[in-house]
Subunit: 363 residues, 2 copies
């Protein structure tokens, strides 16, 4: 097991990474001993792991659970309300702890519910997908979607700890594994060129679920993320770079209907579009863009957006994003491979051409 | 006009109190100039004051509004979602400002929506009821109700400023004026004996809407509240004293169905019950309890709970409250007139007798 820390002063917390952590009482006891524990999970993950986790939180004064439907389309205020229903039915107090057992959707909703229940209670992230282990479980971004925009309603709320049990990846569907690789590749692109090169060499091992390779990748991503979050918890600056591909990606997710494209798939395509746009601005050469696309393709991820979304609609969807400022869409772009920048100072036609060209790839 | 401040370091903010402030551009411009402004109001208040307020925020880059139904029964996640709908329909960015124009329900919902929209945007409180001017608009408590418990879902989120236009009280129904007096009397009871005495002398003037008396009372309450909030923003200690009568009161509000009893009415009765319980513990004498009840009655507020709620049900409802800790209901009680204490260390029969006796007053 490896342990990293997100350095946030009083709210510093550990990320434990390794196989078989779910029932390691000594990792969970410091946070749950003698407290009310509500496990929040979904219909897919709960049958697989909830009993193991119950052993892990055995020191709790009381353990209950609420099981939500599985999928991005259920990441709504309405479904989140079921967590409040469950908490109030058993009259959990302000001292209770929510435990998110699942992927990014569960982590985001349980975390947001924890931020709001009685104006804020503690929570623990137990991510069971590659995507949530490398990215979404760390950093305290929580929230739900709105039909008009992804992650538009939420809070910053840091967990007490993150427990990334790599053994849970054994049961992850291939499509979800690939989706997780999108966020892994992201770290290579934005700030870690050596890691990008390592990924080029090892993507097949990751797809084959080689334990050592996966652990290495998860740890490296968490290390990168922890550093960025420690420096800029509320996304006043550098943290925004973690959104590479996300404004393009959110447009795809919202436009297609949540749950059609997986978040990682949309981000993968979004990163290709960001790379193409960076080329349009003269920052990347053609070979670098192709190299990025090759890695994304090797990870079995899409490089072009769905043909159903017209260019006009795509742009309209991008305009509803948290990164819009004074009417300008702020984009994360690549100044060079391994180095991202935030920019809202680009010629609008370059963005339009990027979208049109990406769509054109469907022939 | 008087101006007080809530001292919270970087988040320090002013409370302006006086007649005719709604369209004082110089008070609002520093907060809204060049920004997107969403006025959140209700069907009762909007027709009366929204146009005046629009002149006050004239320096905004854009002004929109969303008008919600009026009443505590509408303080729900579902109705709050309409604020998000409105914000996203016009694609408001993270730099937007929400302005709450109305009573406590509007302030709580608009504030909570501001806390969550894009993970947090700014907001301004423009309270138009006595209750919200003296209490709920100051201090950053925001939230909505759940069918199983009052204010159970929310956030701490401080406004940029509070604009208490005392002229808006001219249109306040008598019942709401009295409800506001409950929170006014609360400040006398918990920490300001001289003010309690002043209220005994001046309650008729307040009911007659004497401008000077109202302004004095509002300023005095805000001064008390600002001091408490500055010392304990997150209610780790002394701030809890502001909840005198509220745990009893919430039981009435939730038990009767939100909107049946006004919040202030329920708090008034709750304060009488807290006083009776303090007497049961030997802290107050009979005459003091009667004196409190006389003032509350003079303010045209109820001193006994509704007979519909059985003692068992009442206790059950009290057990769902944010102040419950380790299964014990923490109550705010009066150690003496003008001095409140938090206690969870009382004999349970005293609480049961308090509820039974209060119910018995219906004969």
């Amino acid at each position: 097991m490896k342990t990293l820390h997100v350095e946030l002063g009083e709210r510093r917390y550990p990320i434990h990474i390794g196989p078989g952590l779910l029932d390691r009482v000594e990792l969970l006891a410091p946070h749950v001993q003698g407290r009310e524990v509500m496990i929040v999970s979904n219909e897919t993950v709960a049958p697989l792991y909830i009993d193991t986790l119950r052993r892990g939180v055995a020191g709790a004064a009381r353990i209950d659970s609420v099981v939500l439907p599985d999928g991005e389309q259920y990441k709504t205020l309405e479904i989140m309300n079921r967590i409040f229903d469950a908490l109030l039915r058993v009259r959990y107090s302000r001292r209770c702890v929510l435990v998110a057992l699942g992927g990014g959707v569960i982590g985001d909703m349980a975390g947001f519910a924890a931020a709001c229940y009685q104006r804020g209670v503690d929570f623990i992230q137990v991510p069971t997908t590659l995507l949530s282990q490398v990215d979404s479980s760390v950093g305290g971004k929580t929230g739900v979607n709105h039909p008009l925009g992804k992650n538009m309603i939420g809070a910053f709320h840091q967990p007490l700890c993150v427990l990334a049990d790599t053994a849970t990846l054994d049961t992850l569907p291939d499509r979800e594994l690939s989706a997780g690789l999108a966020e892994v590749i992201k770290y290579g692109l934005i700030c870690d060129l050596p890691f990008f090169r390592w990924l080029e060499q090892n993507v097949e091992l990751l797809l084959a679920r080689d334990g050592e390779a996966l652990s290495y990748a998860i740890e490296r991503c968490c290390r990168n993320k922890a550093e960025v979050v420690s420096a800029d918890e509320r996304e006043g600056g550098v943290r925004a770079l973690l959104n590479l591909g996300h404004t393009f990606g959110h447009a795809i997710e919202t436009g297609m209907g949540y749950g059609q494209w997986l978040h990682g798939e949309a981000v993968a395509t979004g990163m290709c579009m960001a790379a193409a746009m960076s080329q349009g601005l003269g920052w990347l050469d053609d070979e670098t863009v192709r190299r990025i696309e090759r890695l994304i393709t090797a990870a079995r991820l899409p490089v072009a957006p769905p043909s159903q979304l017209s260019s006009e609609r795509f742009l309209e969807l991008m305009a509803v994003d948290k990164k819009v400022q004074d009417g300008r869409i702020r984009l994360i772009l690549l100044h060079r491979l391994g180095s991202a920048v935030i920019s809202d100072d680009y010629p609008q036609p370059v963005l339009q051409a990027t979208i049109a060209n990406a769509r054109g790839r469907h022939g």
